[in-house]
C-alpha cells in the first residue's frame, strides 16, 4: 500500500468572468457557502482524490474508488461536484439552455475509452418557461474507462473537465484534475471513495430491457399535423414512494419536447409528450429514433428508487389512439369540448345580436350597451380559451365563420321584408353551424 498519494487540481483556465459580476454580495455569499461545503468533508490524507477546484458557484474534484487499481481492464473514476445553493450542472440533455460537462483524458495515455455516465437527473424550471435538466447540491458523474498500465507502480490520471454551472446566470469553467493512481495485479477499494461512487452508480438509469416486470413501448402520434405527440408507456412500472416519475428525452434532431403529462393506471405508467417540429419534413415520417430516461420508479435499489433508460425506433402513427384522456396541457381529441365551446361562442354572439336588435327596437334600453360590451369580452375570453385547444388555422376559420354569423345577424336586423329576414336567418344558422362544425373538426 502506498505511503503517500498525490492529488492536485490545476485550474488552467476560467473561460469567462462571472456572468453577473455586479452581484458581488451574492457571489460572496455563494463563496462562503462553498467554502463550508468544501471544507467540511476534507478527505483523509490517504484518500485517492484530486484537490477540490473551487469557484464561487461550484467545486469539483476527481475521485477514484481504489487504493490500488487493477493494472489492466475496467477502471472507474468519479467526477465529484458540490454546488452552491440553487446552482446546477447538467445532464446529457441540458434542456433549453446550457450544455453538459465534457471530459478529456488524452493526457493519460494509459487510460482510454473513457465514458462519462449520467445519473438520474432532476428538472429545474427557469424564468420564461424554460427548463434545465441536471443536478443541484451534489453529484458524482461516474466515469467508466479502460486501463492498460505499464510496469510502473502507478499511473497518472489527468482529466480535463469543461462545464457550465447555472442558476439563472451561467458561468463556464475548465479545470485539469490529476490523481496519481497506484496499480497492481489485484485491486484494493478505498473505503472513503468507493462507497460514494457506488451510491452514484446506483443512480445510473438501468437499461429497461434488463429490468424484469417492466415493458416499455412508444408511439409517435402524427394524426394531427403540427401537433405531434410522443407516447411512452411503461407497463408494470409504478412510482417509488413519495416520488413522481419523470420522463427525460435526449436531444432529438427533428423535435423539441414540451413538458410530459403522466397518466397512472393499474397497468403501469404512460407519458404523453407534446412535440414541436424543428423543421418541415420533405417526406412523410415513417418512424424516428427516440431515447428516454424515466426516473422515480419503485425499484430494488438501496434507496428504493429506480431509473430506467431506453432507445427505440418509434413508428409514426397517423391515427389517434383509441383512448385519449388528455391532461396537463395536451390537446383534447374529444369533439365534445370544442363543440361546446363553439356553441357557447355562437350563443353569445347571437345574444349580442339580440341585444342589439332589442336595443334598436326599444329605442335604447338602459344597460344594453354595457351588456353588449360584456358579451363581446366574453366572446374574446371564450375564443382565447378555444385557441389553446384547436390549431391557429382552425381557430382563424372558426372566427371567420363567427364573423359571418355576426354580419348576417346584423343584416337580418336591417331587413324589413319577411322573406329577406328569413333568408338572413338561414344564413345566420348556416354560419353558426359552420362555426360549430369547424370547431369540431379542428
Amino acid at each position: 500500500m502506498p505511503s503517500s498519494l498525490v492529488g492536485c487540481g490545476l485550474p488552467h483556465r476560467q473561460q469567462a468572468a462571472h456572468a453577473n459580476s455586479g452581484a458581488a454580495s451574492r457571489t460572496l455569499r455563494s463563496a462562503a457557502i462553498l467554502l463550508v461545503l468544501v471544507a467540511a468533508p476534507t478527505p483523509p490524507a490517504h484518500t485517492l482524490a484530486s484537490a477540490w477546484s473551487e469557484n464561487p458557484e461550484s467545486a469539483v474534484r476527481l475521485i477514484t474508488p481504489y487504493r490500488i487499481a487493477p493494472r489492466d481492464g475496467e477502471l472507474w473514476l468519479g467526477l465529484h461536484f458540490r454546488l452552491a445553493p440553487h446552482w446546477h450542472v447538467y445532464w446529457k440533455n441540458s434542456g433549453d439552455a446550457g450544455f453538459p460537462p465534457a471530459i478529456d483524458l488524452s493526457a493519460s495515455p494509459e487510460v482510454g475509452a473513457a465514458e462519462l455516465l449520467w445519473p438520474a437527473p432532476e428538472r429545474y424550471d427557469l424564468p420564461g418557461d424554460l427548463v434545465a435538466f441536471g443536478y443541484e447540491d451534489e453529484v458524482v458523474y461516474p466515469v467508466r474507462a479502460r486501463i492498460a498500465a505499464g510496469p510502473a507502480q502507478s499511473v497518472a490520471v489527468v482529466l480535463t473537465v469543461d462545464y457550465l454551472v447555472c442558476r439563472v446566470d451561467c458561468v463556464p469553467y475548465s479545470y485539469t484534475l490529476a490523481v496519481d493512481q497506484p496499480v497492481g495485479t489485484e485491486s484494493d477499494p478505498d473505503p472513503a471513495t468507493a462507497g460514494l461512487l457506488a451510491a452514484w452508480r446506483d443512480r445510473l438509469p438501468r437499461p429497461i430491457d434488463a429490468i424484469e416486470g417492466i415493458e416499455t413501448g412508444a408511439r409517435l402520434d402524427l394524426s394531427e399535423l403540427g401537433r405531434p405527440v410522443l407516447e411512452v408507456s411503461l407497463e408494470g412500472a409504478r412510482p417509488a414512494a413519495g416520488r413522481r416519475p419523470q420522463l427525460f428525452l435526449e436531444v432529438h434532431e427533428l423535435f423539441d419536447p414540451e413538458p410530459p403529462a403522466l397518466e397512472e393506471s393499474p397497468a403501469g405508467l404512460r407519458f404523453r409528450v407534446p412535440l414541436s417540429l424543428k423543421r418541415a419534413l420533405d417526406e412523410p415520417l415513417r418512424s424516428s429514433a427516440f431515447a428516454w430516461t424515466v426516473t422515480g420508479l419503485a425499484g430494488s435499489q438501496p434507496d428504493g428508487v429506480l431509473a430506467v433508460e431506453a432507445r427505440r425506433e418509434v413508428p409514426a402513427s397517423f391515427e389517434a389512439a383509441p383512448s385519449e384522456a388528455a391532461t396537463g396541457g395536451v390537446r383534447s381529441r374529444s369533439l365534445v369540448a370544442p363543440a361546446l365551446a363553439a356553441l357557447a361562442v355562437g350563443f353569445l354572439l347571437s345574444a349580442l345580436w339580440l341585444w342589439g336588435v332589442v336595443g334598436l327596437g326599444g329605442g335604447g334600453r338602459p344597460g344594453t350597451e354595457a351588456l353588449g360590451f360584456v358579451a363581446a369580452a366574453a366572446v374574446l375570453a371564450l375564443l382565447y380559451a378555444l385557441s389553446a385547444r384547436v390549431s391557429p388555422e382552425d381557430l382563424a376559420s372558426i372566427e371567420l365563420a363567427l364573423l359571418g354569423l355576426g354580419l348576417a345577424a346584423w343584416a337580418r336586423s336591417r331587413a324589413v321584408r319577411p322573406a329577406i329576414r328569413g333568408a338572413w336567418s338561414l344564413l345566420v344558422l348556416g354560419a353558426a353551424a359552420a362555426a360549430v362544425w369547424l370547431a369540431a373538426v379542428g
Binding site: Q15, A16, A97, F99, V168, V171, L277, G364, A376, W410
Partner: protein, 203 residues
C-alpha cells in the same frame, strides 16, 4: 344608423377582428422551411426595424445578451461581426429579449458602449416584452436564425460547434457561415437545425 346599433356593430367587429388577429399571431412558428414570424422592434436609437423591410434580402438574426458569457465571448472574438462584415449582402440583426427586471438588462446607452467596445456595427433591437423571442422560440444566447429572401426560415440553432470555445475560430464549424454559403450556391442549408448552446434567454 342608430348610435346604439353602431356601438353593437363596432363591438362585434372589434371582437371578431381582435380574435382573428390573435389567431394569426398564434400561427407564427419557428419551423425551418416555413415563414419566419414577422416583427417590428426598436433599435438602440429607438428607430423601428421590421423584418418585412428586408424582404428580398437574406436576414440573419442573432439573440444576444452582453452579460451572458457566451455572447460576450463571441463578441470578444468578433465571431458575429466578422461574419457580418464578410457578408455585406446579408442583413444582420441582433435581438436582445432580456426582461428589464433582469439583472442582465442593459440600458440602450450601455449596450451602445458594449457594441463600440467589441466592434458590433449592426443593429441591435430591443424586445423587452420577449414577444419576438417567444415567437421565434429563442431559448439561448446566442441563438442564430437565417431567413431567406422570401421570408422563409432556413436555419435555427447554434453559431458553431464549439460551445467550450476551445478551438481557434478558424477551426470551428460555423453553421451560419456554412448556411449562408450553401444558400448562396442554391443548395439547401444542412444542417438546418442544431442545438444552440449558451445562457437561457432572460425573459
Amino acid at each position: 344608423m342608430d348610435s346604439m346599433m353602431r356601438s353593437k356593430c363596432l363591438c362585434l367587429a372589434l371582437a371578431a377582428a381582435a380574435t382573428f388577429l390573435l389567431a394569426c399571431d398564434a400561427s407564427a412558428a419557428t419551423i425551418v422551411g416555413e415563414p419566419a414570424p414577422g416583427f417590428t422592434l426598436p433599435d438602440l436609437a429607438d428607430d423601428q426595424h421590421s423584418l418585412s423591410d428586408h424582404r428580398g434580402k437574406v436576414v440573419v438574426l442573432e439573440w444576444i445578451n452582453p452579460k451572458c458569457p457566451f455572447s460576450e465571448r463571441h463578441a470578444r472574438e468578433q465571431t458575429m461581426s466578422a461574419l457580418a462584415d464578410m457578408h455585406e449582402e446579408v442583413v444582420w440583426l441582433a435581438i436582445n429579449s432580456t426582461n428589464p427586471d433582469s439583472s442582465d438588462y442593459l440600458e440602450p446607452a450601455e449596450h451602445l458602449a458594449y457594441n463600440g467596445k467589441h466592434g458590433i456595427d449592426y443593429a441591435v433591437l430591443y424586445d423587452t416584452s420577449g414577444d419576438v423571442g417567444r415567437a421565434y422560440d429563442a431559448k439561448t444566447t446566442p441563438q442564430m436564425y437565417i431567413i431567406d429572401e422570401t421570408g422563409t426560415l432556413l436555419y435555427n440553432g447554434a453559431i458553431d460547434d464549439d460551445p467550450l470555445g476551445r478551438q481557434k475560430p478558424a477551426e470551428r464549424t460555423n453553421y451560419v457561415a456554412e448556411g449562408l454559403a450553401e444558400h448562396a450556391q442554391g443548395s439547401p442549408v444542412d444542417p438546418a437545425t442544431t442545438k444552440p448552446y449558451g445562457c437561457s434567454v432572460k425573459y
